[in-house]
C-alpha cells in the first residue's frame, strides 16, 4: 500500500471511531414541550412551530409554539392568568391554566438556573 492509501484507510477508521464517539456520547435531550390536559400528556419539539389545542373541563386552551418559545394564546378561564404568564423558552419553565387543568412545561436540555427545583400542584 502507498502513502495516500494509508491516509484514506486512516481517514475511514477515524470516521468510524469519531461517529461512534458522537453517537455514544451522553448528550442533553432536545428541548420539548410537555402539555398535560384531560387526555393525558403530549410532547412536541420546541423548535417546530405549531398550535396545540389542549382540552380541559372548561373547554379548549390554545397553546402556541413559535420561534423557540411557547405561550398560551387563548383559554376559557375567567382571569386569563395563563395568558399573562407570557412566553417560556428554557427547560424547567412552565405555564399553567389551573381552572382548565392545563399544564405546559419545557423539558430536556440543561435545566434553566431560574427554574424551581420542584413544583407541587
Amino acid at each position: 500500500m502507498k502513502s495516500l492509501d494509508w491516509f484514506f484507510l486512516a481517514l475511514s477508521l477515524a470516521l468510524t471511531v469519531g461517529t461512534a464517539w458522537v453517537v455514544l456520547a451522553p448528550s442533553d435531550a432536545p428541548l420539548r414541550v410537555e402539555v398535560q390536559d384531560a387526555g393525558g400528556t403530549s410532547l412536541y419539539p420546541l423548535n417546530e412551530d405549531r398550535t396545540i389545542e389542549a382540552r380541559g373541563p372548561l373547554g379548549i386552551t390554545t397553546v402556541h409554539i413559535a420561534h423557540g418559545g411557547v405561550f398560551v394564546h387563548d383559554s376559557p378561564c375567567t382571569n386569563k392568568v395563563c395568558i399573562a404568564m407570557g412566553t417560556i423558552r428554557s427547560s424547567g419553565q412552565f405555564v399553567a391554566c389551573l381552572p382548565n387543568r392545563i399544564f405546559v412545561r419545557i423539558s430536556g436540555g440543561a435545566p434553566s438556573p431560574e427554574a424551581p427545583d420542584a413544583g407541587v400542584w
Binding site: D5, F8, L11, S12, L15, V22, V23
Partner: protein, 182 residues
C-alpha cells in the same frame, strides 16, 4: 497528474461496445450483490463498482460517465427499483463515489495512491451520501446511529474491492490481451 499511458487505443465503435460490456458486468455484479444479505438496511457491498474501478485507467471521462449511467439506470431497470427511493440512494452514492475516484485517479500520481486508496476514498464518499440520504429522507436525525456501522463496514468493503480490482488488473489475461489490441 496520473499517467494515462495505458489508455486503450481502439476505434470508437469498439470502445463503445466495450463500455456496454463493462456496463453489463456492472449489472451482473449488482445482481450478485442483491442476493447477498445486507448487514444494515440500504448498505451496499460495492461489487457493482468493480468494473468502474478497473476501467479508470483506460476509459475516457465521457466513457466513464456512460458506464456510470448504464450502471445506475440499468440496475434500476433490472431490479425493478428505477421508480423508487432505492434508485435515489443508488445513483447518489454511485455518483459521489465516481466523482471522488475519478478525481483522485486524474490528479494524484500512482506513486502516492493505488487503486486500494481510490477504492477506500470512493467507499467513504458513497457511504457519506447514503448516511445523509438515510437521515434526510427516510429515517430522520435518529438514524445517525448507523453512521459508525456504515463507515466501519465501508472500510472493509473498500479495502476488499481495491485489492480485488488490483489483483484483477495484475493477473487477468483477458484484460492483458485487450490492452495488447489497443
Amino acid at each position: 497528474m496520473r499517467e494515462s499511458g495505458n489508455r486503450l487505443d481502439l476505434p470508437r465503435p469498439v470502445r463503445t461496445d466495450l463500455v456496454a460490456f463493462f456496463g453489463a458486468l456492472s449489472l451482473f455484479f449488482a445482481t450478485l450483490e442483491y442476493l447477498f444479505p445486507k448487514p444494515i438496511p440500504f448498505f451496499r457491498l460495492g461489487l457493482s463498482n468493480l468494473p468502474l474501478l478497473v476501467s479508470l485507467g483506460f476509459f475516457s471521462f465521457r466513457e466513464q460517465m456512460l458506464l456510470l449511467l448504464l450502471k445506475v439506470v440499468g440496475t434500476g431497470i433490472v431490479n425493478g427499483t428505477l421508480a423508487s427511493h432505492v434508485f435515489l440512494f443508488s445513483s447518489g452514492a454511485t455518483l459521489a463515489s465516481f466523482v471522488v475516484m475519478y478525481g483522485l485517479h486524474r490528479l494524484v500520481p500512482t506513486r502516492f495512491l493505488s487503486l486500494t486508496g481510490i477504492s477506500l476514498a470512493g467507499a467513504l464518499a458513497s457511504n457519506a451520501v447514503q448516511i445523509a440520504l438515510a437521515i434526510g429522507i427516510v429515517y430522520g436525525p435518529a438514524a445517525g446511529v448507523v453512521a459508525p456501522w456504515y463507515f466501519g463496514l465501508g472500510t472493509f468493503t473498500g479495502l476488499a474491492m481495491g485489492w480485488g480490482a488490483t489483483a484483477f488488473l495484475k493477473h487477468s489475461k483477458w484484460l492483458g490481451r485487450l490492452h495488447a489490441q489497443g
